[in-house]
Symmetry: D4
Subunit: 148 residues, 8 copies
Amino acid sequence: MKLSVYLSGEIHSNWREEIIDGCKTINLPIEFLTPVTVHEASDDVGANILGTEAENFWHDHKAAKINAIRTKTGIRKADVIIIKFGDQYKQWNAAFDAGQAAALGKPYIVIHPKETTHALKEVDAQAMAVAITSTQVVEILDYVLTQK
Amino acid sequence: MKLSVYLSGEIHSNWREEIIDGCKTINLPIEFLTPVTVHEASDDVGANILGTEAENFWHDHKAAKINAIRTKTGIRKADVIIIKFGDQYKQWNAAFDAGQAAALGKPYIVIHPKETTHALKEVDAQAMAVAITSTQVVEILDYVLTQK
Amino acid sequence: MKLSVYLSGEIHSNWREEIIDGCKTINLPIEFLTPVTVHEASDDVGANILGTEAENFWHDHKAAKINAIRTKTGIRKADVIIIKFGDQYKQWNAAFDAGQAAALGKPYIVIHPKETTHALKEVDAQAMAVAITSTQVVEILDYVLTQK
Amino acid sequence: MKLSVYLSGEIHSNWREEIIDGCKTINLPIEFLTPVTVHEASDDVGANILGTEAENFWHDHKAAKINAIRTKTGIRKADVIIIKFGDQYKQWNAAFDAGQAAALGKPYIVIHPKETTHALKEVDAQAMAVAITSTQVVEILDYVLTQK
Amino acid sequence: MKLSVYLSGEIHSNWREEIIDGCKTINLPIEFLTPVTVHEASDDVGANILGTEAENFWHDHKAAKINAIRTKTGIRKADVIIIKFGDQYKQWNAAFDAGQAAALGKPYIVIHPKETTHALKEVDAQAMAVAITSTQVVEILDYVLTQK
Amino acid sequence: MKLSVYLSGEIHSNWREEIIDGCKTINLPIEFLTPVTVHEASDDVGANILGTEAENFWHDHKAAKINAIRTKTGIRKADVIIIKFGDQYKQWNAAFDAGQAAALGKPYIVIHPKETTHALKEVDAQAMAVAITSTQVVEILDYVLTQK
Amino acid sequence: MKLSVYLSGEIHSNWREEIIDGCKTINLPIEFLTPVTVHEASDDVGANILGTEAENFWHDHKAAKINAIRTKTGIRKADVIIIKFGDQYKQWNAAFDAGQAAALGKPYIVIHPKETTHALKEVDAQAMAVAITSTQVVEILDYVLTQK
Amino acid sequence: MKLSVYLSGEIHSNWREEIIDGCKTINLPIEFLTPVTVHEASDDVGANILGTEAENFWHDHKAAKINAIRTKTGIRKADVIIIKFGDQYKQWNAAFDAGQAAALGKPYIVIHPKETTHALKEVDAQAMAVAITSTQVVEILDYVLTQK
């Protein structure tokens, strides 16, 4: 069995690399999918390609929709979705992706520090695992694929 | 045409009453659905009914799952979903509900102050309308139902 | 059997009234659903409720999305969809609704003059009937409901 | 991530080649799918293979249904759909394809000149991007696949 | 619990009346749905309403599509589908309806004489019951609704 | 909000009456659905209506399929499913119903004694609540419907 | 674009070979799927593998269900379904497969002689093409894949 | 045609190896998928990776959810599901998987000794075959793939 794994959420730390590298080291047959993680490009892509906007709302709107092409496709192609909540920012897009995964019946794993347990209880309630570290996620993926 | 409208999100202000009362005043044929909005009951329902837990995580987990019976049923029965983001708290459950609405192809309206535009751009991108006040939502529902 | 029938398309002639009145005269048990058919309200609703826009594109965009709340709900609730193409205007929204009906597997009936047969062949190909007059649609609905 | 991209709509200009060539030049991993774009073959295929018809309506009908085998399969296989509206003809089939994409929850991009903004507002409202040129679409696909 | 029951298949004997009357006598809360059962009307409805055709194929085609509005709606609304195969005619429409029921996961009951067991084995294989008489179907519906 | 609740599983104790009576006492707006709970009728219905079988396998098979008409319809109509595992018998049908609920994304509540926790861990893992008594289920349904 | 094509229906003539060979000759990229076409094996597979039955009904039932594993999988994997009706036998399984294709929204092509037009009008009404010869089907598949 | 086959159920005998080896010997093009079959790892995976729990219920819960990532993915990827019930233990997870297969419309084969026929009648009723030995399953898969 091969897996397609979508890595959603926080783009301000290197947690994706930790998981991807961790899985590569032990040769897990996983195709990783991600949203656009280059922050500035992600914010300005609408204006850059389709033209600038006077209003911030539409500036963001155009960017968010283009990013959704990648996000929606990634979620649809994925067998498993990993969603990381960091300790900063609102990260509503991460919870939004979790809601999509839940509605589509796709198993997802949440990563977040203990401190946000109460605030994330609805998201955690539908998750297949709630981890704190990237290493735990690598171990889960290893177990799921190799029974080890 | 009658509508079922689910009111998701913030439970710390009286925005639901504003919308419900506003629609009643003009006799719109709407059945309103809501999550449990009694904060303390909502947090402790798992322990209250199924027994206490030593760990906060499981205390929250049991509550969140029981609440999900109401939330999932409400979202599934709704024709339109209204999601309010206030200016406090993480409100990840609101974004989680929006994600479910998006994945199910249900039209949803977001209410939030201008200040959170950038942080909510992914949620707004799939919305049918982004309002600032409860009155605007009443006007939209009025228009959708009566063409006025 | 009762039917819910959505009347999509042209808003510049009284074809909806012809069908609704025709069915009422013979007491067919049909709930009729429609898009917003007040042209000006339909064009300006976004600006009217959510605030004006400097750009025409966004003026239209906000209106079209609010209108979609009604359109999408109507199409989803309908058992049968009637789509009228007049002899003026582009009427891409009518073909757009037909595409939604086709993808959802909902039976739909098209009304258009003979002159547009070639241009509408893809839309006609998935239709259950291609009529020229409102009277024919009333007769079809009468037959479908009463076997007469 | 690889993408399957369906190029729907206008068959009277070389916009498909522009997009396909543009993406090839920068080595994007895309499988392009298209409707039949040989105009005459497309119009007469029903008569050519299954026998001539006295009535234009059935001549068109048989052709449109055979073409639908390719169109429906292309839309179903596609991750992303690009729909071009030119400045001539009714192009209802393009709007019909957009409606199918919308109902299936597939992200789509519309290309059309500014002049048709108002007439296409319902189609644009559900799109992930509204472009004017083929180059913009190549840039979006490049960004979606490479984050550049 | 109330049931909607669609009675598909043979239109040359009074089996529908037997079932409907049998269920009425014992007051079962069932809404019965049927195809058009007036044979001649059913064959000619396309020509009668939409105009005559020189070719038999198109005469039949137009009628069959209008009939499909009723058939598809009936199958979609039904909780349970009853499909009767008589001892005459091809009755491919009955098997076609059974295939739709099977693909939609709707429970269906087949009625046919013992003689056609081998020819109907694929249809029977997905059925919830294979009856020989209308009385047996009434008994099954009685049991399903009242546990008697 | 009204609820449809399907009561699946054990038929050897009066737990269904406890829940139904408990909910009636406090006037909850619930329609209860159940499988056939008359044990002997349930085992022999195939033979009773459609004729006896020499082989036990087919005797059971015919009965199980007729019972499935009621079970499948009940699960499909239900908003919430309650599944009781007693301390006797295999009760594979209860776990089978739970699997259907899980695959359909319907929220379900499991009732079982503590002793079977390990054996039911897969079924519990997808449940919205795991109760021990009928009273707890009544309290959950009360809370879900009235917020109390 | 590659296609998966399921060849359903008659197993008493060599029409499948005609289509497969015809497509191979012109190098069409098609994976062909078929039901079991070895008649005797198909009739007796239940008894051969799982044990003999005294009753013809169960003999056929066991065989039909095992065959359904292949048939259902083939229909689900197919992009396009070809269904041949010969001039002999009841061929209800062919119409049953057509019904499944229709309900799943899969494009299908019917092959039958002119004589059975009236009896097959419901099956033809949902088809994308109605052919008389295997050669016509090869030409359609060629056109769909190569635009020629 | 290739098949993906998921082997669900009992993990205390070597029935999976018998089927996998039996199919390999005759070169059937099958990808086999399985749950985690290392019993102890399967029970303790939650505690091992995510931390120990004081309560048995949560110890099991965390393990069961991580195992569900593999189980749900396997069932979703599978064309055919084989479910073995041994003569020991409750094996509710096997019946739970069968329920998921039934709800998803996936063909499944059950293996169990004659003695459990009555208790498994609901599970058997939706199965495509009920076998007693692994050899029979190999023969069915051989027949389904090679017509032999």
